[in-house]
Protein backbone atom coordinates (compact mmCIF):
# COMPACT_ATOMS: atom_id res chain seq x y z
CA UNK A 1 0.00 0.00 0.00
CA UNK A 2 1.29 3.40 -0.87
CA UNK A 3 0.19 6.59 0.77
CA UNK A 4 1.92 9.10 -1.38
CA UNK A 5 0.90 12.63 -0.56
CA UNK A 6 0.44 12.17 3.16
CA UNK A 7 4.15 12.05 3.57
CA UNK A 8 6.50 12.07 0.64
CA UNK A 9 9.82 10.34 1.08
CA UNK A 10 11.70 13.54 0.61
CA UNK A 11 9.73 15.61 3.10
CA UNK A 12 9.97 12.93 5.76
CA UNK A 13 13.65 12.49 5.18
CA UNK A 14 14.25 16.20 5.49
CA UNK A 15 12.20 16.44 8.65
CA UNK A 16 13.94 13.45 10.13
CA UNK A 17 17.45 14.55 9.36
CA UNK A 18 16.77 18.09 10.50
CA UNK A 19 15.98 16.78 13.97
CA UNK A 20 19.31 15.08 14.29
CA UNK A 21 21.53 17.35 12.32
CA UNK A 22 22.22 19.85 15.07
CA UNK A 23 24.08 17.58 17.42
CA UNK A 24 25.49 15.41 14.68
CA UNK A 25 27.20 18.16 12.75
CA UNK A 26 30.20 17.90 15.02
CA UNK A 27 30.65 14.21 14.20
CA UNK A 28 30.59 14.41 10.42
CA UNK A 29 32.91 12.32 8.30
CA UNK A 30 34.90 14.13 5.65
CA UNK A 31 33.83 13.02 2.18
CA UNK A 32 36.65 11.92 -0.11
CA UNK A 33 37.99 14.41 -2.69
CA UNK A 34 35.77 14.87 -5.77
CA UNK A 35 38.54 13.55 -8.01
CA UNK A 36 38.37 10.07 -6.51
CA UNK A 37 35.26 8.60 -8.13
CA UNK A 38 35.57 5.13 -6.62
CA UNK A 39 36.00 6.53 -3.13
CA UNK A 40 32.97 8.81 -3.60
CA UNK A 41 30.87 5.87 -4.76
CA UNK A 42 31.95 3.86 -1.71
CA UNK A 43 31.20 6.79 0.60
CA UNK A 44 27.69 7.21 -0.80
CA UNK A 45 26.96 3.50 -0.77
CA UNK A 46 27.87 3.26 2.90
CA UNK A 47 25.39 6.06 3.60
CA UNK A 48 27.05 6.79 6.92
CA UNK A 49 28.10 10.46 6.88
CA UNK A 50 28.12 10.57 10.70
CA UNK A 51 30.46 7.61 11.04
CA UNK A 52 32.84 9.19 13.59
CA UNK A 53 29.88 10.13 15.79
CA UNK A 54 28.32 6.69 15.30
CA UNK A 55 31.52 4.86 16.16
CA UNK A 56 31.82 6.90 19.35
CA UNK A 57 28.18 6.15 20.17
CA UNK A 58 28.78 2.42 19.66
CA UNK A 59 31.69 2.59 22.11
CA UNK A 60 29.43 4.36 24.59
CA UNK A 61 26.70 1.72 24.17
CA UNK A 62 29.23 -1.11 24.46
CA UNK A 63 30.66 0.36 27.65
CA UNK A 64 27.16 0.58 29.09
CA UNK A 65 26.46 -2.97 27.93
CA UNK A 66 29.62 -4.37 29.53
CA UNK A 67 28.99 -2.54 32.79
CA UNK A 68 25.28 -3.28 33.23
CA UNK A 69 23.23 -5.09 30.60
CA UNK A 70 25.58 -7.93 29.70
CA UNK A 71 26.24 -9.10 33.29
CA UNK A 72 22.55 -8.85 34.19
CA UNK A 73 21.55 -10.76 31.05
CA UNK A 74 24.17 -13.41 31.84
CA UNK A 75 22.92 -14.00 35.37
CA UNK A 76 19.32 -14.02 34.13
CA UNK A 77 20.13 -16.49 31.35
CA UNK A 78 22.08 -18.81 33.66
CA UNK A 79 19.88 -18.80 36.76
CA UNK A 80 16.27 -18.43 35.61
CA UNK A 81 14.78 -21.77 34.45
CA UNK A 82 14.27 -22.00 30.69
CA UNK A 83 10.47 -22.39 30.77
CA UNK A 84 10.21 -19.25 32.88
CA UNK A 85 12.44 -17.36 30.42
CA UNK A 86 10.09 -18.46 27.63
CA UNK A 87 7.16 -17.13 29.68
CA UNK A 88 8.90 -13.78 30.01
CA UNK A 89 9.65 -13.65 26.27
CA UNK A 90 6.03 -14.51 25.49
CA UNK A 91 4.63 -11.97 27.95
CA UNK A 92 6.74 -9.14 26.49
CA UNK A 93 5.96 -10.19 22.91
CA UNK A 94 2.24 -10.22 23.70
CA UNK A 95 2.45 -6.64 24.98
CA UNK A 96 3.62 -5.61 21.52
CA UNK A 97 0.42 -7.01 19.99
CA UNK A 98 -1.57 -3.78 19.72
CA UNK A 99 1.31 -1.91 18.07
CA UNK A 100 1.90 -4.75 15.60
CA UNK A 101 -1.84 -4.83 14.88
CA UNK A 102 -1.93 -1.07 14.22
CA UNK A 103 1.06 -1.29 11.89
CA UNK A 104 -0.41 -4.29 10.05
CA UNK A 105 -3.48 -2.13 9.39
CA UNK A 106 -1.44 0.92 8.39
CA UNK A 107 0.34 -1.28 5.83
CA UNK A 108 -2.94 -2.64 4.48
CA UNK A 109 -1.99 -6.16 5.57
CA UNK A 110 -5.44 -7.19 6.76
CA UNK A 111 -4.79 -10.90 6.91
CA UNK A 112 -1.73 -10.35 9.07
CA UNK A 113 -3.71 -7.88 11.18
CA UNK A 114 -6.33 -10.60 11.76
CA UNK A 115 -3.61 -13.02 12.80
CA UNK A 116 -2.15 -10.50 15.26
CA UNK A 117 -5.58 -9.73 16.73
CA UNK A 118 -6.41 -13.41 17.19
CA UNK A 119 -3.05 -14.09 18.77
CA UNK A 120 -3.41 -11.20 21.19
CA UNK A 121 -6.94 -12.17 22.19
CA UNK A 122 -6.11 -15.82 22.70
CA UNK A 123 -2.80 -15.40 24.44
CA UNK A 124 -4.01 -12.60 26.73
CA UNK A 125 -6.91 -14.74 27.98
CA UNK A 126 -6.30 -18.47 27.74
CA UNK A 127 -2.56 -17.88 27.58
CA UNK A 128 -2.76 -16.08 30.98
CA UNK A 129 -1.76 -12.48 30.20
CA UNK A 130 0.40 -13.67 27.35
CA UNK A 131 2.87 -15.83 29.26
CA UNK A 132 1.94 -18.80 27.06
CA UNK A 133 1.97 -18.59 23.29
CA UNK A 134 -1.05 -20.84 22.75
CA UNK A 135 -1.82 -19.28 19.38
CA UNK A 136 1.68 -20.07 18.17
CA UNK A 137 1.27 -23.68 19.27
CA UNK A 138 -1.76 -24.10 17.04
CA UNK A 139 0.02 -22.64 14.05
CA UNK A 140 -0.70 -18.91 14.29
CA UNK A 141 2.90 -17.77 14.08
CA UNK A 142 4.02 -14.46 15.49
CA UNK A 143 5.27 -11.75 13.19
CA UNK A 144 6.50 -8.32 14.16
CA UNK A 145 5.85 -4.96 12.64
CA UNK A 146 6.78 -1.45 13.68
CA UNK A 147 6.24 2.06 12.43
CA UNK A 148 9.71 2.18 10.89
CA UNK A 149 8.67 -0.68 8.63
CA UNK A 150 5.32 0.99 7.95
CA UNK A 151 7.13 4.15 6.80
CA UNK A 152 9.29 1.97 4.54
CA UNK A 153 6.21 0.47 2.90
CA UNK A 154 5.04 4.05 2.30
CA UNK A 155 8.28 4.62 0.37
CA UNK A 156 9.88 6.83 3.02
CA UNK A 157 13.68 6.64 2.72
CA UNK A 158 15.63 5.36 5.71
CA UNK A 159 18.13 8.22 5.73
CA UNK A 160 21.71 7.91 6.96
CA UNK A 161 22.81 5.24 9.42
CA UNK A 162 22.61 6.38 13.01
CA UNK A 163 23.69 4.77 16.26
CA UNK A 164 21.36 6.04 18.96
CA UNK A 165 22.35 6.11 22.60
CA UNK A 166 20.95 3.01 24.36
CA UNK A 167 18.68 2.07 21.41
CA UNK A 168 21.68 1.21 19.23
CA UNK A 169 21.73 0.84 15.43
CA UNK A 170 19.05 2.90 13.72
CA UNK A 171 18.35 5.61 11.17
CA UNK A 172 16.04 8.63 11.12
CA UNK A 173 13.15 6.57 9.78
CA UNK A 174 13.45 3.88 12.45
CA UNK A 175 14.10 6.52 15.12
CA UNK A 176 10.79 8.19 14.27
CA UNK A 177 9.28 4.70 14.21
CA UNK A 178 10.34 4.00 17.81
CA UNK A 179 8.76 7.27 18.93
CA UNK A 180 5.53 6.71 16.97
CA UNK A 181 5.19 3.13 18.21
CA UNK A 182 5.47 4.17 21.82
CA UNK A 183 2.86 6.91 21.25
CA UNK A 184 0.37 4.57 19.58
CA UNK A 185 0.91 1.86 22.21
CA UNK A 186 -2.12 1.68 24.58
CA UNK A 187 0.13 0.31 27.32
CA UNK A 188 2.06 3.58 27.27
CA UNK A 189 -1.12 5.35 28.34
CA UNK A 190 -2.89 2.71 30.44
CA UNK A 191 -0.12 1.50 32.71
CA UNK A 192 1.70 3.18 35.63
CA UNK A 193 5.21 4.52 35.31
CA UNK A 194 6.71 1.62 37.28
CA UNK A 195 5.23 -0.90 34.85
CA UNK A 196 6.62 0.97 31.86
CA UNK A 197 10.10 1.04 33.37
CA UNK A 198 9.89 -2.64 34.24
CA UNK A 199 8.77 -3.44 30.71
CA UNK A 200 11.64 -1.49 29.16
CA UNK A 201 14.23 -3.13 31.42
CA UNK A 202 12.67 -6.56 30.92
CA UNK A 203 12.65 -6.15 27.14
CA UNK A 204 16.32 -5.15 27.13
CA UNK A 205 17.42 -8.04 29.39
CA UNK A 206 15.28 -10.63 27.58
CA UNK A 207 16.59 -9.60 24.18
CA UNK A 208 20.21 -9.38 25.32
CA UNK A 209 20.00 -12.82 26.93
CA UNK A 210 18.51 -14.42 23.82
CA UNK A 211 21.25 -13.01 21.60
CA UNK A 212 24.05 -13.52 24.08
CA UNK A 213 26.03 -16.11 22.12
CA UNK A 214 25.50 -14.48 18.73
CA UNK A 215 26.82 -11.14 19.98
CA UNK A 216 29.86 -12.85 21.53
CA UNK A 217 30.46 -14.68 18.26
CA UNK A 218 30.22 -11.53 16.19
CA UNK A 219 32.52 -9.58 18.48
CA UNK A 220 35.09 -12.36 18.42
CA UNK A 221 34.95 -13.10 14.70
CA UNK A 222 34.66 -9.68 13.11
CA UNK A 223 37.50 -7.54 11.86
CA UNK A 224 35.45 -4.38 12.28
CA UNK A 225 32.63 -4.89 14.78
CA UNK A 226 31.08 -1.52 13.94
CA UNK A 227 30.91 -2.22 10.19
CA UNK A 228 29.59 -5.74 10.80
CA UNK A 229 26.75 -4.44 12.99
CA UNK A 230 25.91 -1.73 10.44
CA UNK A 231 25.68 -4.29 7.65
CA UNK A 232 23.66 -6.76 9.73
CA UNK A 233 21.24 -4.09 10.91
CA UNK A 234 20.49 -2.89 7.40
CA UNK A 235 20.06 -6.36 5.94
CA UNK A 236 17.87 -7.46 8.83
CA UNK A 237 15.62 -4.42 8.50
CA UNK A 238 15.35 -4.90 4.73
CA UNK A 239 14.29 -8.50 5.38
CA UNK A 240 11.69 -7.44 7.95
CA UNK A 241 10.31 -4.83 5.57
CA UNK A 242 9.94 -7.51 2.87
CA UNK A 243 8.18 -9.62 5.54
CA UNK A 244 10.81 -12.30 5.09
CA UNK A 245 10.34 -12.82 1.35
CA UNK A 246 13.64 -13.68 -0.33
CA UNK A 247 15.40 -10.81 -2.06
CA UNK A 248 16.39 -12.12 -5.43
CA UNK A 249 17.52 -8.74 -6.70
CA UNK A 250 20.42 -8.31 -4.31
CA UNK A 251 23.98 -8.46 -5.63
CA UNK A 252 25.38 -11.95 -5.95
CA UNK A 253 28.89 -13.35 -5.99
CA UNK A 254 29.80 -13.63 -9.62
CA UNK A 255 28.14 -10.39 -10.51
CA UNK A 256 24.81 -11.70 -11.76
CA UNK A 257 23.04 -8.73 -10.28
CA UNK A 258 21.00 -7.85 -13.32
CA UNK A 259 17.65 -8.90 -11.87
CA UNK A 260 15.21 -6.05 -11.33
CA UNK A 261 14.69 -5.19 -7.68
CA UNK A 262 11.36 -6.57 -6.59
CA UNK A 263 10.72 -6.77 -2.91
CA UNK A 264 8.63 -9.92 -2.95
CA UNK A 265 10.66 -12.03 -5.31
CA UNK A 266 7.65 -12.60 -7.55
CA UNK A 267 9.73 -12.79 -10.66
CA UNK A 268 11.30 -16.00 -9.44
CA UNK A 269 9.88 -19.08 -11.01
CA UNK A 270 9.15 -21.89 -8.64
CA UNK A 271 11.26 -24.88 -9.56
CA UNK A 272 9.93 -27.27 -7.02
CA UNK A 273 7.56 -27.11 -4.16
CA UNK A 274 7.98 -29.67 -1.44
CA UNK A 275 5.87 -27.89 1.09
Amino acid sequence: MKVVGIMSGRAARLAATATFIGFLAAGCATPPPASDQAAIAAFNETNDPYEPFNRAMLQFNLALDKAILKPVAYVYKETVPDPLQTNVTNFLANLRGPVIFANDLLQGEFERAGNTLMRFTMNSTFGILGINDLAGEIGMQEHTEDFGQTLATWDVDDGPYLVLPIFGPSNPRDGIGILADSLMDPFTWLTPFEFRIGRAVGTAVDRRARHYDQINDLEKNSLDFYAAIRSLYRQRRADEIRNGAPASGSPVPGGLSVMPQKPDGQQSKALSSEK
Binding site: A42, Q235, S248, V252, P253
Partner: protein
Protein backbone atom coordinates in the same frame (compact mmCIF):
# COMPACT_ATOMS: atom_id res chain seq x y z
CA UNK B 1 37.31 -65.15 -21.45
CA UNK B 2 37.52 -63.96 -25.01
CA UNK B 3 40.35 -61.89 -26.25
CA UNK B 4 38.26 -59.78 -28.58
CA UNK B 5 39.73 -56.31 -28.71
CA UNK B 6 36.30 -54.90 -29.49
CA UNK B 7 34.83 -56.35 -26.32
CA UNK B 8 37.78 -55.10 -24.33
CA UNK B 9 37.30 -51.68 -25.82
CA UNK B 10 33.58 -51.75 -25.09
CA UNK B 11 34.31 -52.95 -21.59
CA UNK B 12 36.74 -50.09 -21.08
CA UNK B 13 34.24 -47.63 -22.46
CA UNK B 14 31.53 -48.97 -20.19
CA UNK B 15 33.87 -48.71 -17.24
CA UNK B 16 34.73 -45.14 -18.14
CA UNK B 17 31.10 -44.12 -18.45
CA UNK B 18 30.20 -45.70 -15.12
CA UNK B 19 33.24 -44.28 -13.37
CA UNK B 20 32.49 -40.84 -14.73
CA UNK B 21 28.89 -40.96 -13.55
CA UNK B 22 29.77 -42.51 -10.21
CA UNK B 23 30.42 -39.44 -7.98
CA UNK B 24 27.17 -38.81 -6.12
CA UNK B 25 25.71 -35.88 -7.93
CA UNK B 26 22.49 -34.28 -6.83
CA UNK B 27 20.14 -33.67 -9.73
CA UNK B 28 18.64 -30.40 -8.51
CA UNK B 29 19.99 -27.52 -6.41
CA UNK B 30 17.42 -28.36 -3.73
CA UNK B 31 18.66 -31.98 -3.51
CA UNK B 32 22.21 -30.73 -3.41
CA UNK B 33 21.52 -28.45 -0.43
CA UNK B 34 19.64 -31.19 1.38
CA UNK B 35 22.41 -33.74 0.84
CA UNK B 36 25.22 -31.36 1.77
CA UNK B 37 23.28 -30.20 4.82
CA UNK B 38 22.67 -33.73 6.07
CA UNK B 39 26.29 -34.60 5.46
CA UNK B 40 27.52 -31.54 7.33
CA UNK B 41 25.19 -32.12 10.28
CA UNK B 42 26.25 -35.75 10.59
CA UNK B 43 29.94 -35.10 10.14
CA UNK B 44 30.38 -31.97 12.28
CA UNK B 45 28.16 -32.81 15.22
CA UNK B 46 29.84 -36.15 15.86
CA UNK B 47 30.51 -36.34 19.59
CA UNK B 48 34.08 -36.34 20.81
CA UNK B 49 35.57 -34.36 17.95
CA UNK B 50 38.39 -32.04 18.92
CA UNK B 51 38.07 -28.53 17.66
CA UNK B 52 40.98 -29.09 15.22
CA UNK B 53 39.34 -32.19 13.79
CA UNK B 54 36.06 -30.34 13.39
CA UNK B 55 37.83 -27.45 11.64
CA UNK B 56 39.49 -29.88 9.21
CA UNK B 57 36.20 -31.62 8.39
CA UNK B 58 34.59 -28.22 7.99
CA UNK B 59 37.34 -27.17 5.57
CA UNK B 60 36.76 -30.20 3.36
CA UNK B 61 32.97 -29.78 3.36
CA UNK B 62 33.29 -26.06 2.76
CA UNK B 63 35.34 -26.58 -0.39
CA UNK B 64 33.06 -29.34 -1.60
CA UNK B 65 29.86 -27.34 -1.16
CA UNK B 66 30.92 -23.74 -1.72
CA UNK B 67 32.63 -21.89 -4.53
CA UNK B 68 34.94 -20.25 -2.04
CA UNK B 69 37.29 -18.41 -4.44
CA UNK B 70 34.28 -16.83 -6.08
CA UNK B 71 32.81 -15.77 -2.74
CA UNK B 72 36.18 -14.36 -1.73
CA UNK B 73 36.34 -12.34 -4.93
CA UNK B 74 32.85 -10.99 -4.29
CA UNK B 75 33.73 -10.15 -0.69
CA UNK B 76 36.65 -8.03 -1.85
CA UNK B 77 34.24 -6.11 -4.11
CA UNK B 78 35.61 -3.19 -6.03
CA UNK B 79 39.05 -3.73 -4.52
CA UNK B 80 39.59 -7.05 -6.30
CA UNK B 81 40.56 -5.30 -9.52
CA UNK B 82 42.91 -2.87 -7.85
CA UNK B 83 44.88 -5.51 -5.97
CA UNK B 84 47.93 -7.34 -7.28
CA UNK B 85 47.90 -11.02 -8.18
CA UNK B 86 49.88 -11.91 -5.05
CA UNK B 87 47.45 -9.94 -2.90
CA UNK B 88 44.50 -11.73 -4.50
CA UNK B 89 46.08 -15.11 -3.93
CA UNK B 90 46.92 -14.42 -0.32
CA UNK B 91 43.51 -12.90 0.29
CA UNK B 92 41.68 -16.01 -1.00
CA UNK B 93 43.81 -18.26 1.21
CA UNK B 94 43.27 -16.05 4.28
CA UNK B 95 39.56 -15.80 3.53
CA UNK B 96 39.23 -19.59 3.75
CA UNK B 97 41.01 -19.62 7.11
CA UNK B 98 38.90 -16.73 8.36
CA UNK B 99 35.62 -18.45 7.40
CA UNK B 100 36.66 -21.72 9.04
CA UNK B 101 37.67 -19.95 12.23
CA UNK B 102 34.43 -17.98 12.33
CA UNK B 103 31.98 -20.78 11.53
CA UNK B 104 33.42 -24.25 12.27
CA UNK B 105 32.60 -24.25 15.97
CA UNK B 106 29.04 -23.09 15.46
CA UNK B 107 28.30 -26.68 14.44
CA UNK B 108 29.36 -28.01 17.80
CA UNK B 109 25.92 -28.45 19.28
CA UNK B 110 23.35 -29.44 16.71
CA UNK B 111 21.52 -31.96 18.85
CA UNK B 112 17.94 -32.40 17.70
CA UNK B 113 18.34 -29.91 14.86
CA UNK B 114 17.21 -30.64 11.36
CA UNK B 115 17.49 -28.96 7.96
CA UNK B 116 14.27 -28.88 5.93
CA UNK B 117 14.35 -27.77 2.32
CA UNK B 118 11.11 -25.95 1.60
CA UNK B 119 11.30 -24.60 -1.92
CA UNK B 120 13.62 -23.68 -4.77
CA UNK B 121 13.37 -20.79 -7.18
CA UNK B 122 15.17 -19.98 -10.35
CA UNK B 123 17.08 -16.70 -10.19
CA UNK B 124 18.82 -16.89 -13.54
CA UNK B 125 19.71 -19.57 -16.08
CA UNK B 126 22.63 -20.68 -13.91
CA UNK B 127 21.46 -19.81 -10.39
CA UNK B 128 18.76 -20.97 -8.05
CA UNK B 129 17.67 -19.92 -4.59
CA UNK B 130 16.98 -22.83 -2.27
CA UNK B 131 14.76 -21.94 0.68
CA UNK B 132 15.21 -23.95 3.86
CA UNK B 133 14.63 -23.91 7.58
CA UNK B 134 16.61 -25.24 10.49
CA UNK B 135 14.39 -26.81 13.10
CA UNK B 136 15.61 -26.17 16.63
CA UNK B 137 13.81 -27.91 19.49
CA UNK B 138 11.88 -25.43 21.63
CA UNK B 139 12.70 -22.44 19.45
CA UNK B 140 11.28 -20.81 16.35
CA UNK B 141 12.82 -22.23 13.16
CA UNK B 142 15.68 -20.31 11.54
CA UNK B 143 15.14 -19.38 7.91
CA UNK B 144 18.17 -20.12 5.72
CA UNK B 145 18.31 -19.48 1.98
CA UNK B 146 21.08 -20.80 -0.28
CA UNK B 147 22.15 -19.32 -3.57
CA UNK B 148 23.33 -22.18 -5.74
CA UNK B 149 25.27 -21.88 -8.98
CA UNK B 150 24.83 -24.87 -11.28
CA UNK B 151 26.64 -26.08 -14.34
CA UNK B 152 25.24 -29.29 -15.80
CA UNK B 153 24.81 -31.42 -12.70
CA UNK B 154 27.52 -29.75 -10.70
CA UNK B 155 26.35 -27.40 -7.99
CA UNK B 156 28.18 -24.93 -5.79
CA UNK B 157 26.80 -22.65 -3.12
CA UNK B 158 27.73 -19.01 -3.70
CA UNK B 159 25.85 -17.39 -0.82
CA UNK B 160 23.98 -18.20 2.38
CA UNK B 161 21.29 -15.93 3.81
CA UNK B 162 20.31 -16.42 7.44
CA UNK B 163 17.08 -14.60 8.29
CA UNK B 164 17.69 -12.33 5.34
CA UNK B 165 21.31 -11.63 6.24
CA UNK B 166 23.70 -12.56 3.45
CA UNK B 167 27.08 -13.85 4.57
CA UNK B 168 28.75 -12.59 1.39
CA UNK B 169 27.27 -9.12 1.65
CA UNK B 170 28.16 -8.88 5.35
CA UNK B 171 31.76 -9.90 4.63
CA UNK B 172 32.00 -7.49 1.70
CA UNK B 173 30.66 -4.57 3.77
CA UNK B 174 32.99 -5.36 6.64
CA UNK B 175 36.07 -5.82 4.43
CA UNK B 176 35.30 -2.58 2.59
CA UNK B 177 35.19 -0.76 5.94
CA UNK B 178 38.56 -2.22 6.99
CA UNK B 179 40.10 -1.19 3.66
CA UNK B 180 38.68 2.34 3.95
CA UNK B 181 40.05 2.66 7.49
CA UNK B 182 43.43 1.77 6.01
CA UNK B 183 43.41 4.52 3.44
CA UNK B 184 41.90 2.40 0.63
CA UNK B 185 44.72 -0.17 0.76
CA UNK B 186 43.92 -3.88 0.40
CA UNK B 187 47.17 -4.49 2.23
CA UNK B 188 45.53 -3.21 5.41
CA UNK B 189 42.79 -5.84 5.14
CA UNK B 190 45.30 -8.60 4.45
CA UNK B 191 47.28 -7.63 7.55
CA UNK B 192 44.10 -7.62 9.64
CA UNK B 193 43.14 -11.06 8.31
CA UNK B 194 46.62 -12.39 9.06
CA UNK B 195 46.35 -11.15 12.65
CA UNK B 196 42.83 -12.55 13.06
CA UNK B 197 43.70 -15.99 11.73
CA UNK B 198 47.08 -16.18 13.46
CA UNK B 199 48.94 -16.29 10.13
CA UNK B 200 51.49 -13.61 10.96
Amino acid sequence: MTGSPLRAALGALFFLVVAYAAPVQASTPADFVKQMGDKAFASLSEPGLTSDERAERFRILLNEAFDLPRIARFALGRYWRTSSEEEQKEFVALFEKFVIQAYANRFQDLSGQKLNVIDAREISAAQALVLSEIEIPGKPPVKINWRVQSKDDEHKIVDVMVEGISMSVTQRDEFAAVIRQNGGKVDGLIKALRRKTGSD
